[in-house]
């Protein structure tokens, strides 16, 4: 920016400033009112969300009745850095994932995939080298992803980091993890590390359009169904291995309640694939007794393991989570 010369710049009346800003606001409502409504729906409950929703509802209504949104979308679509990964209400996976939702009354057959072979001492010695690793999730795998990538780089492992900040399995309108997991699995990583759950607790719609409100058993069933669909995609019929970390207890008690349900859902979701999908429980290590703690004893010293937000792990905490992942990887792969 060149230096603004306030001595010579044209001066106008404040009313003109209000007109300019007002006109910009009107044009934005007409062209992107739907986005305001969508953003309001994806925000955490609170006054700010109420305000955004109060503006978003009429703005969305106006935008729906004008063709401007489509013109703007078509004109600017080439600038978008993402493939279309947003989902509609009730969408998850865009029909790309075939998962038995609510199987019939028949007793499901048990297969070898149901067993964690290492847990029963029947795991063969790993012979396969780990070549490619995908670390994904919301903001939780940051900085776990780079710690793992740096540790494994010297072992010849190519790590892809793909965090999607602010997203969640129960927040599929902005980013549909069902669609994303299908796209990620196309790169055929040997192993996938998933650490997600910082933004959950939103109401979801099931495949048949039924709305499930957080945080009852119906919500947990839908969450587990979504997680299982992703696990199924990542395991690629048994060719891939999945390491899904549970969420350590956060400081905020309302969030902790959601995380308990998320963690329980993961255990349930992984049940049919225990040979390939390992749920790595961080709770006993980082928050024993399901109690939040900022610091823990490492060696003989107290070390801080959480970020000040009371949700995320800091470098030290992420290092502990990375130890857990590497230990699990060693059971399935040869790691020099």
């Amino acid at each position: 920016m060149t230096t603004i010369d306030l001595a010579t710049t044209p001066r106008r009346h404040a009313r003109d400033a209000i007109v300019a800003i007002g006109l910009a606001a009107v044009l934005l409502v007409a062209a992107a009112g739907g986005s305001i409504r969508k953003q309001g729906d994806e925000m955490r409950p609170g006054l700010l969300r109420d305000v955004v929703r109060a503006v978003g509802a009429p703005a969305g209504w106006v935008a729906d009745r004008l063709p401007i949104h489509e013109v703007v979308h078509d004109t600017t679509a080439f600038l978008s850095p993402d493939a279309n990964l947003s989902g509609g209400k009730g969408a998850f996976g865009g029909g790309a994932i075939s998962v038995a939702r609510g199987a019939g009354a028949a007793i499901p057959a048990i297969s070898a995939d149901d067993f964690d072979l290492s847990a029963i001492g029947a795991a063969p010695k790993p012979t396969r080298k780990l070549r490619t690793l995908l670390v994904t999730g919301d903001s939780l795998p940051m900085p776990l992803d780079s710690i793992l990538a740096r540790r494994l780089s010297s072992k010849g492992v190519k790590t892809t980091r793909d965090p999607h900040v602010g997203t969640g399995l129960s927040k599929s309108e902005l980013l549909d993890w069902g669609k994303l997991s299908v796209r990620q699995a196309k790169t055929q990583p040997d192993a996938v590390v998933v650490f997600i759950g910082a933004n959950e607790g939103f109401d979801m719609h099931t495949a048949v359009g039924k709305r499930v409100v957080c945080c009852g058993i119906d919500w947990a069933v839908e969450y587990a169904t979504r997680a299982r669909a992703m696990m199924s995609v990542y395991r690629r019929g048994g060719a891939g291995r999945v390491y899904w970390l549970t969420v350590p207890t956060p400081r905020d008690s309302a969030r902790a309640e959601v995380e308990r349900l998320v963690n329980q859902s993961l255990t349930v979701a992984a049940a049919p694939y225990r040979a390939q999908v390992h749920v790595l429980d961080t709770v006993p290590i980082l928050t024993p007794g399901d109690h939040f703690r900022t610091a823990m004893t490492i060696g003989d010293r107290q070390r801080i393991v959480r970020e000040p937000d009371g949700i995320h792990l800091n470098d030290t905490g992420s290092g502990i989570a990375a130890d857990l992942v590497v230990e699990a990887l060693r059971k399935d792969f040869v790691l020099p």
Partner: protein, 465 residues
């Protein structure tokens, strides 16, 4: 609440209308400005509003006491105590977590098992900025550059939302006089304000965030996975990113203030065209540079005394300037490196060395700055070391793309280009009719919004400081 967000897009038009509606009733306007600013701050974390209030009361109380006293020693003691308390607050909130583990280790080492509680304290957004502004207030009153304001004026000054969370660091002597009478509604620099807001949006959302996503973040996270070409471009790209991110924020802050009738000091002046490190610091984060000069370097003794004394003052100023940015050793070394650059520059002057061509000097300064940015951006010294080491590992470029190259070259070219054609373009934009300016803002928002990934607009880099 960040400027490029839907929440702010709802907040600001309402505040702008009410602000001008209340301006003739100046006392009511001030009360409104405080409420609006605290509401803005509360959107991040309402609990920290109490901290902002406490800093305001502390410094205003100190300023009043300093002003009332005629005894120089007493005045000095009051200002020292107030500034110490300011720095103590900053220290507790910003640096406690950084030092506590090391202090406990040291206590254990010397056999004193008196561990300090290991706690992670949340960093209040903007604490470094409003603390420094509070310091300028009490020190300027002590230096008799300004009279103490009323408590209400002091509260407006410290909390005014356009500069609250990431500057520019506006001095009391620059802002408080603007509160003396209502702003003139017929003298709004609308064109300049809209130019700055549009430029800020493009810089932050269109350029800085794209560079971060496409090359900077991947390479700095795991430099081991990349070779010479990617690492080199990532270094240049970070220089472009941090400039666009921070100056983009500042442009928006200055533009928003102008719309409300207030004037903030300039904070950036095309820093990468600097032909010396001294010049770089006169062009980069100018309000911090002059704060460090006037409130640290000169009180330490500045250029007075022997050369060694000056070198000491320079190094101390730059090391503390580095630490101000964050509780990490990488920031301290970044500041130290800039201190060394400045000292080396002075040493060459003392030796009477012949200066090379201005373009050669620009090239040297730019690369010195980029090298220092590597430390600034790296999460640890280990990462910085690996990043620099990878420069010697030739490998096929993975992250080069026409977009990244165009953005990096574009940002640098604009800094080096002659001023006149750019100024002509700016003046033409500033002269547009209000409706055209509004339409231009709307189109800019729609275009830059299309470049935002599904993860939304990342926070400004300087919000962490």
């Amino acid at each position: 609440m960040v400027f490029p967000s839907i929440e702010f897009a709802i907040f600001f038009p309402i505040v702008l209308v009410l602000s001008w509606a209340l301006m003739p009733r100046h006392a009511q306007w001030k009360a409104f400005a405080i409420v609006a600013s605290y509401a803005f701050y509360a959107a991040a974390n309402w609990k920290f509003c109490f901290l902002l209030g406490a800093v305001t009361l502390l410094n205003h109380g100190g300023a009043v006491l300093v002003h009332r006293s005629d005894d120089d020693r007493r005045r000095k003691h009051i200002v020292a105590a107030t500034v110490t308390l300011d720095l103590l607050l900053l220290g507790v909130f910003k640096y406690y977590g950084f030092f506590v583990e090391d202090v406990n280790g040291l206590l254990d080492h010397v056999g004193l098992s008196l561990p300090l509680p290991v706690a992670q304290i949340a960093l209040p957004v903007g604490i470094s900025f409003f603390t420094f502004q509070a310091i300028t207030y009490i020190v300027d009153v002590y230096r008799r550059l300004v009279e103490p304001a009323s408590l209400v004026d002091a509260a407006v000054y410290l909390s005014f939302f356009p500069h609250l969370v990431a500057g520019p660091i506006v001095r009391a002597s620059e802002f408080i006089p603007q509160l003396a009478k209502p702003r003139n509604p017929s003298r709004v620099a609308l064109g300049a304000a809209m130019t700055l807001i549009v430029a800020g949006l493009v810089k932050k959302v269109g350029i800085a965030d794209t560079l971060a996503r496409e090359i900077v973040d991947p390479v700095f996270a795991v430099p081991e996975q990349y070779g010479t070409w990617d690492v080199l471009l990532a270094g240049y790209a970070y220089a472009a990113q941090i400039y666009c991110d921070f100056s983009g924020y500042t442009d928006m802050a200055i533009g928003l203030a102008l719309l409300m009738g207030f004037r903030f000091p300039q904070n950036f002046d095309r820093p990468y065209r600097a032909a010396s490190f001294r010049e770089f610091w006169r062009r980069w984060h100018m309000t911090l540079s002059r704060f460090l000069r006037d409130y640290l370097y000169i009180p330490l003794g500045g250029n007075r005394g022997s050369r060694w004394f000056m070198v000491r003052n320079l190094m101390l100023t730059m090391l503390l300037g580095g630490l101000w940015h964050g509780a990490a050793i990488t920031f301290v070394i970044w500041g130290g490196l800039h201190g060394l650059y400045l000292v080396a520059e002075r040493a060459l002057e003392w030796l009477g060395t012949r200066r090379p061509n201005v373009w050669v000097r620009r090239l040297i300064v730019f690369h010195g700055v980029v090298l220092a940015w590597v430390l600034f951006r790296s999460s640890s010294l280990d990462v910085a070391g690996t990043f620099i080491g990878r420069l010697a590992h030739p490998a096929a470029a993975q992250l080069w793309s026409p977009l990244v190259l165009a953005l990096v070259i574009g940002v640098l070219a604009v800094q080096l280009a002659p001023e006149r054609p750019l100024a002509r373009l700016r003046i033409r934009f500033e002269s547009l009719q209000p409706a055209m300016l509004g339409a231009a803002l709307a189109v800019t928002v729609l275009v830059v919004a299309a470049t935002v990934s599904s993860q939304g607009v990342p926070p400004f880099i300087y919000f962490r400081f």
